[in-house]
Symmetry: D2
Subunit: 356 residues, 4 copies
């Protein structure tokens, strides 16, 4: 019942607080003899690290990963991998006010209600800083998946502004600070988020993650469904409030005729004429791209004072200073990709276990 | 890694095919000395059973539950509960065509791709008939939760037609065959679904499940989040393609100021001025109502011929005859309630384990 | 945390009380397309069933198994198997006295202390009747293992009388009612147990289970050790108080030189010059026979009055009438074989998952 | 299916190789607001650390523990604890020969057979150095158990020399380098092990661990038995080949009359007139002391050349140089205590979850 672990065969356990000495992940169940070194993992961490543009937090962290176990002479050994990232920029004074007050929209009150104690420095364990450990684990998962599976994420909506899907170009994602696949919309978002940032406000976002190359047959029926595990994985990312597979909520408006993805004969398995299902039927992959979307709420770390109570139950107000993300959804892209990688790696191994 | 089990401490394992002799659930981890008998469970099964209106399947099943173990003299004993429901109406001839062809939008192809064998009679294990076992288990979960927690579900959208939330009246739900809380919309749905049914088509739906009385502090951080487990539970229901907590995808359009649920002093814990969060922050309950919504796609069992392939890879067409639900979302209401009950019961026990 | 489940990938969940309507097992994680029918399972149940000789309980049970799910046209489908055995002989009046008194050496008091309720009829859930479900599951496990792995059990000690290992002949096991591989000792045991039975007393036993054909590499390091899982599996059988792998406790008396199993070059992997290790090193199989022994205490169901207390805490005495096994260790042989099969099947799948 | 984790609610995940930079444990499920600091954990590590007498390995390790997460202002927070111990003395040259040859009686060959790669430096992950992480986790478990439960271990046999149980005096254990409760036997062991050490040989041992103060009701039926979990925990310690509860294998020689622990009325629950059961009936604690014994084989790291093969399959010989324990059983005492603590802490939480 480990609240800090996920996955069944490819299993990740994370630890660490925002302002503790370090954070990390133990990754278990990794097949042996996979090439792995710190540089490979670092590439993914660099996509998530703070300070890469004015639209993300200015906290200074190099997010340098160390492999402490499980790799020998450049290869995984089959034993547990320990990955550690030291915290470097821990200006605790930024957060002193929140020791006594609960920030609305944060986990301050609920941790207090549950545990009767909380590490208030930067949100402690509830800080999105924990997602660095997920990204590191996700890099290992990509090695398990191998080169046949490609996982890419994009931001498809910031605030009320949605991309034009007809303009989708994956190569655009790397050219703007938003992972936006629609070049025109990227320009609009820049304007919108500059205004948001200057107002000390924050904006929500929707992220889409697509996995190409997943063969038919991964996943499992009933409670081991691939979409069920993806839903849990994405909903568990900080600030996520909704998850969709394929057409998602839009499917509720379709007729049965429109929604069914028809099949034609293909070279290797069927060719589907559409992908409303997002690559999953009955909890099992179809061989089409696996498509997941998730909604990220606007962070509650804003400069406008909000009404709240303190730990003694008195009414008060709070303004969250400090270095925050005007749109946390942006840095959620590599995190969503990592969770997709971890879920798929787990199901690859689970499928191999049962079906050889 | 049991694909047919869910939950950690309150743990449900189900079995059974659509056209086998029976289906059932083993429920483990149940606290001792809870009052339980078959009549209590039957009440919930009767809400889900087929044939209650012309808008659901006409298959004839009484869905009578038997308790085979775990109850002694009207009380749970703390050992594993075995609940069994015999299948009565198994007209296998209705389904003979699907032995050789894959129905688009169903799990036929993916089970075949994964296992190389499938019980094609009525969908076998992939049939939504399995959800009867969930509903039975959910009844047990309600006993674990006790009377302080109330769980209610409603259909809030069928096809493109959404209810007017201002007209929400829980008492209306029992008065129409749609679990619709908006009396005006219920009339409109009747018209819409009659047309759908006569056209041999099908419609999607959105269901909302609300739990009142959940105390602050249930759930857990990181990968044991209450919302993460709810997302998995709801996404794992047949035909579900999206899950939201609280404002869900709409939260992406809000500003941080609008989204943060402000707090004032209350008699027992804080009073929140809004519930955008759907009763969960940082994966832990706030004490507000827990609000989940999920989207159900239109079933692919329709009378219009759809293009597909057969098990030898040849191109063909298929028409799904038989007795199907024009809108499977309707019968998903008691299933969604049951999953909510199971997740909450599990987290109640998990919280008690760690925090006493 | 299911107390009624074991295994990770090959996962068994059991249910049922001694005097309830039935008992059963749900077996999950079974690979698809394995030949399986009730006759195959029944063969193993018949080895464990009561009434086969005067040395075991005279309760009349045919222990007929029904497969309720998971098999289609004679093959496993990859979904959960439900196996059910109805109880036939439930003379509850035999057990009426134990409703109010705790039998020493039984689980009566501890179930009461834990749950505050107990099904006292025949021991309820704590009855060794539950092991029928294990034997049924073990039959499925043998299908997972295939013909390359042979699992055989024998009784090597009853009361103080140990077999002469030099006389070990597997073919003798089927010729006497004790699964005794030493023909001379079988005669002695007959005499000893007749005396025990007539005295209304009971005797303990030691069982040895050997698996031939296990390839090198099954198992896992640290907490997933093959011997660790075997120890849990055997210790969890009713009345077992000790478990050994290979030389077991005798290894403590050896020198390092004597204990190390030396290796020579073989045709496929090494040839070992001895098997003190019982086929397992570092938690992983060596390719030699896997050898486990476990000690079964004498049942406390005896005719001599024993001092005890009643459920109100008053001092009293109890005599356990009814139809009991003078030596429960005899019927533990097929149970131990079944647990060996289940553990090995699980590790076969786990190995395939991680190492392909 | 994490091979590097154990426990259900109190859950420990370990990592690290003998000659890597560090090793550690992540401990999850810890209740909040328990006092914990490094000094408390260090006290237990100091009992296990190398170099404390001439009868254990002379490797120099301070085994200094660092708490990296999960503790705030001297109290546990309810989130995952990360405990790290750096390796200091890593003279890799001592172990160079074993890169190419398999040491008989070690895990060298089986890791190779399983993974096709192994970290041969000091045994890598298979080294008993991993048990330092268990001891650290065990210290946390003791905090979960609180002062009411006392866990103590002793060596009761070295080689063929068993203690006289009539002379048992717990206070003697701390006065000799063997954790021997029989002062006379300690003198004999000193002589015996000096001879063993000088001969470059090694000796086995039997360890007994006793937990006082465990209330009746911990544990669970069937597959969640307290003795089953203890058996797994102890059998999983390096070099252990047998586990007993209470009378263990000796119970097989008793009659039912002799073995049943009779009960008389006591002040709080029954008073038992004997403890053949070792404090556990039906998998659930009786309130008597919980008694476990385990056999440790003699280490195969000896100076006499043993026949073996190399990684290319050629026949050769090997002598294991380096700094080894002449009797690894001695340092297994704090490890056995730690495993007892972890299992009991887990069951304390599991019992609270189900039974309040």
């Amino acid at each position: 019942m480990s609240a800090n672990s996920f996955g069944t065969l490819f299993r990740v356990t994370t630890w660490g607080e925002s302002h503790g000495p370090a954070l990390g992940a133990v990754v278990d169940g990794v097949p042996p003899r996979l090439a792995l070194d710190e540089a490979f993992i670092q590439g993914f961490l660099d996509k998530r690290k703070p300070g890469t543009s004015r639209f993300v937090t200015q906290r200074r962290e190099s997010d340098t990963v160390e492999i402490l176990s499980g790799v020998f002479e450049g290869q995984t050994t089959g034993t547990s991998l320990s990955l550690m990232i030291r915290n470097e920029d821990q200006r605790s004074k930024d957060y002193s006010e929140i020791a006594a007050k609960f920030r609305p929209g944060h986990a301050d009150y609920t941790y207090w209600a549950k545990y009767g104690i909380r590490d208030y420095r930067g949100g402690g364990r509830s800080s999105a800083r924990e997602t660095a450990a997920r990204v590191a684990a996700g890099a290992v998962a990509r090695r398990v998946l191998g080169d046949g599976v490609t996982i890419r994420g994009a931001v498809v909506q910031i605030g009320p502004h949605k991309i034009d899907r007809a303009k989708w170009d994956w190569s655009a994602c790397g050219e703007n600070p938003f992972w936006c696949p629609d070049r025109d919309m990227a320009a609009k978002w820049e304007e919108f988020l500059d205004a948001t940032r200057k107002a000390g406000s924050s904006a929500g976002a929707v992220i889409e993650v697509v996995a190409d190359g997943v063969p038919a047959g991964w996943g499992a029926p009933i409670y081991g469904k691939l979409d069920s595990d993806l839903a849990a994985a994405m909903m568990g990312i900080n600030a996520v409030k909704g998850v969709e597979i394929g057409d998602g909520f839009a499917a509720a408006e379709l007729s049965g005729e429109a929604n069914a993805d028809e099949m034609r004969a293909g070279n290797a398995g069927p060719t589907f004429l559409s992908n409303h299902a997002g690559g999953i039927l009955g909890g099992i992959s179809t061989g089409q791209p696996v498509v997941v979307r998730f909604a990220v709420k606007p962070t509650s770390s804003i400069l406008s004072p909000r009404r709240t109570i303190d730990i003694d139950g008195n009414e008060t107000e709070i303004v969250t200073k400090g270095r925050h993300d005007p749109c946390v959804g942006i840095r959620a892209v590599p995190v969503g990709e990592a969770m997709m990688a971890c879920v798929l790696a787990d199901h690859k191994l689970r499928h191999r276990a049962q079906c050889g």
